[in-house]
C-alpha cells in the first residue's frame, strides 16, 4: 500500500482508552483448582472485595472471560483441559499464576514425580506470578494491580511510600 493511502489517524489514543477499560474490567474465568481457589474466593467476598477493581465478574464460561487465574496444582491430566480453556478465551487475554503450585509445582515436586506440570508457564504464557502457599487475598489483589499496571503502563495507586 502507498504511504499516502494510510488512514491519517492514529489509534494510539483509542488504544489507551481501551486499555484503561480493559484494566478496570478484568473478567476472570471461574476456574478453581485447589487450595488457592479458596483464597481466590475469599478475595471476591465482602472483606477483600475484588469488585472494587472491577474484577468481580467471575464467568463460568471462558468465552466471556479475559483473565485466567490458575489457582492451584496443574496435573498432567488437567493440562489439556487448561490449555483448551485458555484457547477458548477471546483475546486480549491474561493469565495470573496464583500460588507456588501454579508457579513451579510448589510443595509437590519430588524426584520421580509422575503427575505434575512444574509451572503453568510451560503450558500458557503467564503475565503475573503471585507467590505463596496459598497467597493471601491481599496478595492476589496486588497481583491484579500489577496486571493493571502491565496493561495501562500506570499503577492505579501509588506504591507504598517509604517513610522510614
Amino acid at each position: 500500500m502507498e504511504k499516502e493511502n494510510l488512514p491519517p489517524v492514529s489509534f494510539a489514543v483509542l488504544d489507551k482508552v481501551l486499555d484503561l477499560a480493559r484494566a478496570n474490567s478484568l473478567w476472570p474465568v471461574t476456574f478453581g483448582l485447589a487450595c488457592c481457589a479458596i483464597e481466590m474466593m475469599s478475595a471476591a467476598m465482602a472483606r477483600f472485595d475484588i469488585d472494587r477493581f472491577g474484577a468481580g465478574v467471575f464467568r463460568p464460561s471462558p468465552r466471556q472471560a479475559d483473565l485466567m487465574i490458575v489457582s492451584g496444582t496443574v496435573t498432567k491430566k488437567m493440562a489439556p483441559v487448561l490449555v483448551t480453556l485458555y484457547d477458548q478465551m477471546p483475546s486480549p487475554k491474561w493469565v495470573i499464576a496464583m500460588g507456588n503450585c501454579a508457579i513451579s509445582g510448589g510443595p509437590f515436586v519430588f524426584e520421580g514425580q509422575y503427575n505434575l506440570i512444574e509451572g503453568v508457564d510451560k503450558l500458557v504464557p503467564v503475565d503475573v506470578y503471585v507467590p505463596g502457599c496459598p497467597p493471601r487475598p491481599e496478595g492476589l489483589l496486588e497481583g491484579f494491580l500489577k496486571l493493571e499496571e502491565k496493561i495501562t503502563g500506570k499503577r492505579r495507586f501509588p506504591g507504598p511510600v517509604e517513610r522510614w
Binding site: L33, A37, S42, K76, M78, Y114
Partner: protein, 524 residues
C-alpha cells in the same frame, strides 16, 4: 462384640488363625490372613453381620503384595483387619464389588496403582491416572504396564459404548467445586447413569509420603483437605503419636480440640455458601464468608496461616495460645450463636431451597453401609456414628456433646445436620475453653527424629466430611513404608452415581453439592 465376632468367625471358618491384636497400638482388634479363595466367603460373613468395608488397600512388600481389608461396624467398636498375600509377578484376587459396592472403587484404585487384577470386576479402567502413565506408581520397583493391561486401562470412552447423549460435567464446572469430572448419560432431561472420572488433581500424596520423613510430610496434610486442614493435621499427628508412642500434654489436647472445631465450623460455613450458590442463591455465600473470616482471624493469630494450617506437632503444638485467642474465640462463639437465626431465615426457611432439596438424593441406611459413606452424610441417613464419640482422641473423651442425626437422608437433612453440627462444635469449644488446663503445650523432649516401631496402624478421626482413616506401615526407618489415606469425600462420592440415576440434571447438582466433596482429598 470383639469376642463374639471372633467366636463366630472361628466357628464359621474352622481352619482360620485369628490373632487378637492390641487395639490401642494397632487400631484394630482382630487380624486374619487369608487365601484368595476364601475372601468372598469371609466378606459375606461380615456383610451378614452388618459390618462395612472401611477401606481396601494394597501394600507392596517386594516379596509379595498384600491386600488389606478393614471391616468395621457402625453400632459398636470392633475392627477386623483381613489380609491377602498375592504373588507380585501375577497379582490377582477375586473382587468384592458384588458384596460391598465401595470395593468397586477401591479395587479400581488398587488396579491402576499396583496392577492387581480383580477377577469379575465390572470396570477396571483408569480412575485417577492420566493415560500416558506406563508404570504402576505405588509399586516399590518400576514395573511397566503390560500391553494388555494398558489397552484395558485406557479403554474408558463412554461415547463409544452406545449412542446415548453424554454430558460432561467438569472438570471445569462451577458446581463441582474444583476439578471433578462426571460424565452423565442422559435420557432427555433425566440421568440414566453417572460416571465420575477422578484424578485431575492427583498430587501423588501417598507416593510422596514414602519419600519423606514423618516430619516432612506434615505440611502436606493441610493441603489434602484444605477446608478441614486442622482435622487432617490432627489425624496425622495423632496417628504418628500412636505409632511411635509419644505422650501429649493435656493442654495441647484441649487446644487441639478448640482449633479443630473452629476449623470444622469454617468448613461447614463454606459448604453452606457454596451449596447455596450451586442452587442459585448467591447471598448466603457472602454471609458465610463473613463469618468464616472472623474465625480465620482468630486461628491465624496463633497458627500463622489462614487456610492450610500446620499447627500441630508430634507431641503437642507449634505454639501456645494466649489470652487474645481465648477472648477472640469467645467472641466468635457469641457471634455465631446469633447467626443461626439469620441462616434459618435466609436459607432453612426459604421455600425455594426446601423444594429443591427435600426428597432429593435420599440415602437409606443399608445403602449407606454398602458404600461406607461417612460423616454428616451417614448421620443424615440416620446412623449416628461419630468417631469423636466412638473412638475418641485428643480431649474428646472428657467433653460432653450430642451427635445430631437426620431422619430422611435427603439433601435437606444434610443441611440441617451441618447447621446442628456447628452448634455442637460451639458447645464443644465452650467446654474446652472452660477446662483448658495450664501446663506445657508440647512434650519437653519432642523427638527430633522419628523412628516408630515396626508394624502397622489404622487410625481414624472425624473430619468435617467424615471418617478419615490413616493406615501406616512402618519399617522402623524415619520414613513411612506405606501410608494410605482413606478419605471421607472419596467414599461419599462413590454413592453419587446411584443417587443421580433417574433424577433430573438440575437435581444432580443438588445431590452432588449435598455430599460436600473436596476434590484434592479424593484425588490425593
Amino acid at each position: 462384640m470383639v469376642d463374639k465376632t471372633k467366636a463366630e468367625l472361628q466357628a464359621a471358618f474352622a481352619d482360620l488363625t485369628i490373632i487378637e491384636e492390641s487395639y490401642p497400638q494397632c487400631g484394630y482388634h482382630l487380624s486374619v490372613d487369608l487365601k484368595a479363595k476364601d475372601i468372598l466367603e469371609v466378606a459375606g460373613f461380615f456383610d451378614e453381620r452388618h459390618f462395612y468395608l472401611a477401606v481396601e488397600l494394597g501394600v507392596d512388600y517386594k516379596d509379595y503384595l498384600e491386600l488389606v481389608y478393614i471391616f468395621s461396624i457402625h453400632s459398636s467398636l470392633c475392627k477386623v483387619k483381613v489380609t491377602l498375600k498375592l504373588d507380585p509377578s501375577q497379582p490377582a484376587a477375586p473382587t468384592l464389588s458384588k458384596i460391598y459396592a465401595c470395593a468397586y472403587w477401591y479395587e479400581r484404585e488398587i488396579h491402576e496403582f499396583y496392577g492387581v487384577r480383580f477377577e469379575g470386576h465390572p470396570g477396571l479402567t483408569y480412575l485417577f491416572l492420566h493415560d500416558g502413565i506406563d508404570f504402576y506408581p505405588l509399586r516399590k520397583e518400576k514395573i511397566p504396564v503390560s500391553e494388555k493391561d494398558r489397552q484395558e486401562l485406557n479403554s474408558y470412552s463412554p461415547a463409544l459404548r452406545d449412542d446415548s447423549l453424554f454430558i460432561n460435567m467438569g472438570p471445569q464446572h462451577p458446581s463441582t467445586h474444583g476439578v471433578l469430572r462426571v460424565v452423565l448419560k442422559m435420557d432427555g432431561e433425566y440421568i440414566e447413569d453417572a460416571y465420575p472420572v477422578l484424578g485431575y488433581l492427583h498430587r501423588m500424596q501417598e507416593k510422596m509420603a514414602e519419600n519423606r520423613s514423618y516430619y516432612q510430610f506434615l505440611p502436606n496434610t493441610g493441603r489434602m483437605d484444605y477446608l478441614g486442614a486442622m482435622s487432617f493435621n490432627l489425624g496425622y499427628v495423632t496417628a504418628v503419636e500412636r505409632l511411635a508412642g509419644i505422650d501429649v500434654p493435656a493442654r495441647a489436647h484441649y487446644v487441639r480440640v478448640i482449633a479443630t472445631e473452629l476449623n470444622r465450623i469454617c468448613s461447614h460455613l463454606l459448604w453452606i455458601g457454596a451449596y447455596l450458590a450451586d442452587l442459585g442463591g448467591l447471598s448466603p455465600f457472602l454471609y458465610a464468608f463473613d463469618d468464616r473470616e472472623n474465625i480465620q482471624d482468630v486461628l491465624e493469630a496463633v497458627t500463622g496461616s489462614r487456610l492450610t494450617y500446620c499447627y500441630f506437632r508430634f507431641g503437642g503444638l507449634y505454639n501456645d495460645v494466649d489470652d487474645a485467642f481465648i477472648l477472640g474465640t469467645k467472641a466468635v462463639i457469641a457471634r455465631m450463636r446469633g447467626r443461626f437465626a439469620l441462616y434459618e431465615k435466609l436459607v432453612g426457611g426459604n421455600v425455594i431451597f426446601i423444594n429443591r432439596t427435600r426428597g432429593i438424593g435420599v440415602i437409606e441406611k443399608e445403602r449407606a453401609r454398602k458404600y461406607a459413606v461417612c460423616g454428616p452424610v451417614l448421620r443424615g441417613a440416620g446412623i449416628g456414628m461419630d468417631l469423636r464419640k466412638k473412638e475418641p482422641y485428643a480431649a474428646y473423651p472428657e467433653i460432653d456433646f450430642e451427635v445430631p442425626i437426620g431422619t430422611n437422608g435427603d439433601a435437606l437433612d444434610m443441611y440441617h445436620i451441618r447447621i446442628k453440627e456447628m452448634e455442637t462444635s460451639l458447645n464443644i469449644i465452650e467446654q474446652a475453653i472452660e477446662r483448658l488446663p495450664d501446663g506445657p503445650f508440647i512434650v519437653e523432649k519432642a523427638p527430633k527424629k522419628l523412628k516408630p516401631r515396626k508394624g502397622d496402624l489404622y487410625h481414624v478421626v472425624e473430619t468435617p466430611r467424615g471418617e478419615l482413616g490413616i493406615y501406616i506401615v512402618s519399617d522402623e526407618s524415619d520414613k513411612p513404608y506405606r501410608m494410605k489415606w482413606r478419605v471421607p469425600s472419596f467414599s461419599n462420592l462413590m454413592i453419587f452415581p446411584e443417587l443421580a440415576k433417574g433424577n433430573l440434571l438440575s437435581d444432580a447438582v443438588a445431590i452432588l453439592g449435598s455430599l460436600d466433596l473436596v476434590i484434592p482429598e479424593i484425588d490425593r
